[in-house]
Structure formats: C-alpha cells, structure tokens
C-alpha cells in the first residue's frame, strides 16, 4: 500500500550566520532576522530525504511538506529544496523563529494536516526533524502526533525499513551510541528523524520547475498561522564566555604530545 507521507519542517538561519538576540514587541527575536539567509531546517531536511527514498521504493506514495514560515522566505528556500525531489507544499504564513511556542506551532501544524483534502490517515506517516536548529526542543512532532490521534511514535530515528508483511522496522537513537530497534505493525506513525544515513539528493531543475508550478499558487493562498504563547521570556543572551586562546606554534610534535599527555592524565 502506498504511503501518504507528511513532512513537517520549518526554516532556520544559515548555520554560518552570526546570530544576536534582540527584543521585539512580539518578544525575543534575532537581529536583522528577515535579512538573514535561511535554509530548510537540517533535521527536517533529513526527514524529507528519507521520505523521498521511501516514496521511491513504494510506488504511489506521495509527499506533502507542511511548513510555518514567513511566506516570502519560504518561497526563497523552496526554490532550492524543490529541485531535489517531487513534493507538494502546504504552507502556513507565520513567524518561523525559534522563540515561538512549541505547543502553538504543533496545534497549527496539526490543524493544517487535518485539513488536507483526501488524507488517508490509515496510510499516513508523519515525518519531521527530531529537533529544529532554532528552538531545538524536540517536542513538536510528538504533540502534532497526539493532536492527530497517532500513538505510535518514534524519536531520533536513523533508519526505517518495511518488511515483507508491511510492518515498519525502525531504529531510534538511544543513549550511549546505541540504536533501539522496534517493529510497528502498520501506519499511522510519527517518525521524528535524526540524521539518517542518506546523502542530500542532487538538484534536478526540471523537478524544481514542476514543483514550483504548484507551490507558487499554494504560497499565494497560504493561510496565516495564528500562534499564541504561554511563554514569557525574562532574558535571552549570548553566552558571555570567550576563551583566551593560547596559540602554540613552531614547537616539535614530541613536545606538543608530551604537553597533551600531561593534560590528559590530569
């Protein structure tokens, strides 16, 4: 049976950007937030690549990406992501920063998913990143799953296989560099992905053009996500610690090794 794969994913500032918190009328934010170049959230990206791989192996499967972000920024980022694999975008126009309330974001995502026409929940796999590169809480996917009534959930997933009976064999990260292996008899299920093992798909301009033909109208019609919050921030600050780096150069390797050995033994 083909799957209906829903991938939840937001945007994050390009990891190489310098970030500085500022106070805005709506609470904390990032300095020049709208000007910062954005990328599709890295963990959600892994979830999307895994979705593409699964859809390729199970013909008839479809992928829909549900995302809350300022729609102008979402459009920019999708110009790149859309070239990698075929999917349909379900955009919600709203703030995409890390200081939004996870519970409210989960409610908005769940409502948007529930409103997708013709969604067969019995064949649904809800994918997303384990955590985001913004809020980094690792709670949204479980909350979305609960709001959609899905009680088979997996966190920090690195591998999904489907056995001959159609059961899902799932590897989740657990402490100590190990994987827990579980067997879920059938969908629906929530899989919040860690990195998986797949490389980033290469760009296919034709796929991008085909995707964007449907995405542009969807972006124009994107509904506003009305996010609320039960959070209040007393402060947001950069860590103050800067180390006084001692630079050791033109010293023989043996001497460095001795210094390191002494340090390690301390």
């Amino acid at each position: 049976m083909p799957y209906q794969i829903i991938v939840c994913g937001g945007l994050a500032p390009d990891p190489l950007q310098t970030l500085e918190p500022v106070t805005t009328p709506a609470g904390p934010g990032l300095k020049n937030e709208l000007m910062l170049p954005a990328v599709f959230d890295p963990w959600a990206g892994h979830a999307l690549y895994e979705a593409a791989n699964l859809a390729k192996n199970v013909p008839g499967s479809v992928i829909k990406v549900v995302s809350i972000a300022p729609k102008a920024k979402l459009q920019q980022v999708m110009m790149t992501v859309a070239q990698k694999l075929p999917f349909e975008l379900v955009p919600l126009d709203g703030p995409g920063g890390g200081f939004t309330d996870s519970a409210s974001v989960a409610t908005a995502l769940a409502d948007a998913i529930a409103a997708i026409p013709g969604l067969d929940k019995s064949q649904m796999l809800l994918f997303g990143g384990w955590e985001s590169a913004t809020r980094g809480a690792g709670v949204v996917m479980q909350m979305v799953g609960e709001k959609l009534g899905i009680t088979e959930q997996f966190l920090a997933v690195d591998e999904l296989k489907v056995d001959e009976s159609g059961a899902l064999i799932i590897k989740e990260r657990v402490e100590g560099g190990r994987h827990q292996v579980s067997k879920c008899a059938a969908p629906p299920a929530v899989l919040a992905w860690a990195t998986g093992n797949l490389p980033e798909p290469s760009n296919h301009p034709q796929t991008g053009m085909a995707n964007m033909r449907a995405m542009m109208p969807a972006l124009q019609k994107a509904k506003a996500a009305a996010l609320t919050s039960t959070l209040s921030y007393a402060s947001v600050a950069l860590p103050a610690v800067t180390r006084q780096t001692k630079i050791v150069k033109d010293v023989p390797a043996a001497q460095i090794a001795q210094e390191l050995a002494d340090w390690i033994k301390q």
Partner: protein
C-alpha cells in the same frame, strides 16, 4: 508553591539512571515534591530515593519494561494525573524526550526540554539556536513538563523512604521493541562517561605533505588512541558526510559521532579537536566541554578566535604518532 512531581524512569535493568538523581537534586532545591517512577522494577527504585517525598507512586510490569511511546505515555499520564502536580520535573533522557511532549499535549499542557537550571520562582534556563544563546523563561500553561538536561546538576545521594503505591497500566500498541544494536565493547567509540572527547575533522582525509592521502593510518591513529585511552569519539559534519557519500574514509565514523549544529552536544570535562577548523556550526556542539584543546595546521582557524584554550599549530599525524608512544 505549586505542587511538583518528580517523574523518573528506570533502565531496562531496573535501576535509576544518573540523570534521575540529577533531576531529583534539582527538585530538592525547590521545596516539597511528589515522586513517581515508571519502568522495570519501578516500585523498588522509587522507594530507594523516596525520603522526603510527599507521595510515592510507580508503574511497572511488562508494558513499561522497555522504552516505547505508546506505553510510556499512558503510564506517565497516569502518574502525573494521580499526583495532582502542575509542574512535572523529569530527566531529559531520550525515553522521556520521546514520551512526555505527547503527554503534555494530551493534558493540554506544555513541555520544555534541555533545561539546564530551574530558579526557585520556577523560571527555567534553556538554550536556543543549538546552544548559541540562553534564555530565562517561564510559562503559564499547566501541567508543565520540565525536562532537565543530563549533567546540568550534581546527582543527589539516594535516600530510601516510604514504599510506592503501584498503579495499574494497560494499553494496546502496535509497536514491539525488538532490542538494541550497539557496537561490541572493544569497538565502542561513543562513551558518554569518558573524561575526554576526541574529535576528528576532515583534515585527516586530505592530502598530506607527500601529496598523498593517508586515511588508513589516520583511522589507525584515531582508533588506537580512542580505544587505548577509553575516550569518546566525535566528528565534524564534513567528515561524516564524506562517509555518507560513499567515499572510503574513516568508515567507523557515522552520524552518531557528529558534534555540532546538526549533531550532538556531548558533555565531557575535556575535548581535543584534531584537523577541524572550529567553525561556529561545529563549535556549538562543544558548548558543554569545559577544557578545550585543538591541533590544526592553520593558526588563523576558528579555534583561535576564543573558542579553544590552547591551539597547537602542528601536523596532527605527527602529534598523534608521538602521543601514541606516551599514552
């Protein structure tokens, strides 16, 4: 003071993990609390630390003997509801990180994870943008699940007290836990309790002075050091990405080893970075490494910008060969 529940779980072997005692230590700074434990041997584990708790409850048995969302969520919901607590402190282990956000949603509450401190007024401290900034915040939503980051507090001493009231737990699930996959003990390279984190960067796979790559020797130097000294092994993203792209470089490194923006944020007393440029996306994963040293051929690399305590401008191959003789 609001009613607080300390919610813990046991390991598969029926013991409380260190993170449980750390969470209990945080709760003890806040005043009185209820205690609940789920998992294998939960009642005995609860009694072993129940001194001073207002009430003690446990759920144990086959359903919660292993970590699984469907069963853990039902058990945690039952324990939280029975306690009447509005604030639930729990360790931010992967087991609870998986289950408790969903329980918060069921109870129309909220959940915050990776909390590194809790003030007496119940303000919490947590990190945003992958450890790049720290916030102090509070919430009005209740029940509020607050998951304490392992290593954020010193563990308390276990003090036995009253016996636990054992609650029933029954739930249907379509998920069966099959088991664990882990490297053999002599191949293990991720050791959360190690004193030192050794991190390898992509420079190990680049052409060396003779114009050739020496990935076999690099792998041997790294693995010998890690195994001999029982250190934990980490990697920069660029290095594990090379492995994922099918290139035959340091095949023992996987995404599990990745430290940084899209990897882990391990806690070790010391960290030694080799052949890694110390750029911000990687260094955010070093936020909780106390003493940091780096070996790099480039004196102007990112580690020199106030991120490492000592930067050795040297050839890591030569240094590690010498170090192997000394350790």
């Amino acid at each position: 003071m609001e009613p607080i529940l300390v919610l813990l779980h046991t390991t598969d072997e029926g013991a409380l993990p260190k993170a449980a005692l750390e969470t209990l230590a945080v709760a003890q700074t806040l005043g009185t609390y209820h205690l609940a434990v789920l998992g294998a041997n939960a009642a005995a584990a609860a009694q072993s630390v129940s001194a001073g708790a207002l009430s003690v409850r446990a759920i144990e048995g086959d359903a919660v003997a292993v970590s699984r969302y469907a069963t853990d969520a039902v058990a945690a919901q039952a324990l939280a509801t029975a306690s009447g607590a509005t604030v639930i402190l729990a360790p931010c282990t992967l087991r609870f990180q998986r289950a408790l956000p969903g329980v918060a949603a069921r109870l129309n509450g909220a959940c915050d994870t990776h909390v590194v401190a809790v003030d007496p007024d119940l303000s919490i401290h947590r990190w945003y943008y992958r450890q790049r900034m720290e916030a102090t915040q509070s919430r009005t939503a209740r029940p509020w699940f607050v998951l304490i980051e392992p290593g954020a507090a010193d563990p308390c001493a276990a003090q036995p007290g009253a016996a636990a009231e054992v609650l029933p737990c029954a739930v249907e699930t379509r998920t069966e836990v099959i088991g664990y996959q882990s490297p053999n003990a002599d191949q293990q390279t991720i050791r959360p309790d190690a004193q030192l984190l050794f991190v390898a960067g992509a420079g190990w796979t680049k052409k060396q002075k003779d114009g050739q790559t020496h990935t076999d020797e690099a792998g041997s130097l790294i693995l010998n050091f890690v195994q001999h000294n029982k250190t934990s092994l980490g990697s920069s993203k660029s290095l594990v990405d090379l492995s994922g792209e099918g290139q035959a470089v340091l095949p023992f490194l996987t995404h599990l080893h990745q430290v940084g923006q899209t990897g882990s944020t391990p806690r070790h007393r010391k960290g030694l970075s080799t052949c890694c440029h110390g750029e911000e996306p990687h260094v955010v994963g070093w936020r909780f490494i106390n003493e940091r040293r780096a070996i790099n051929l480039d004196a102007a690399c990112g580690w020199a910008r106030g991120k490492a305590d000592v930067l050795y401008v040297a050839d890591a191959f030569e240094v590690m060969r010498e170090l192997a003789k000394l350790l």
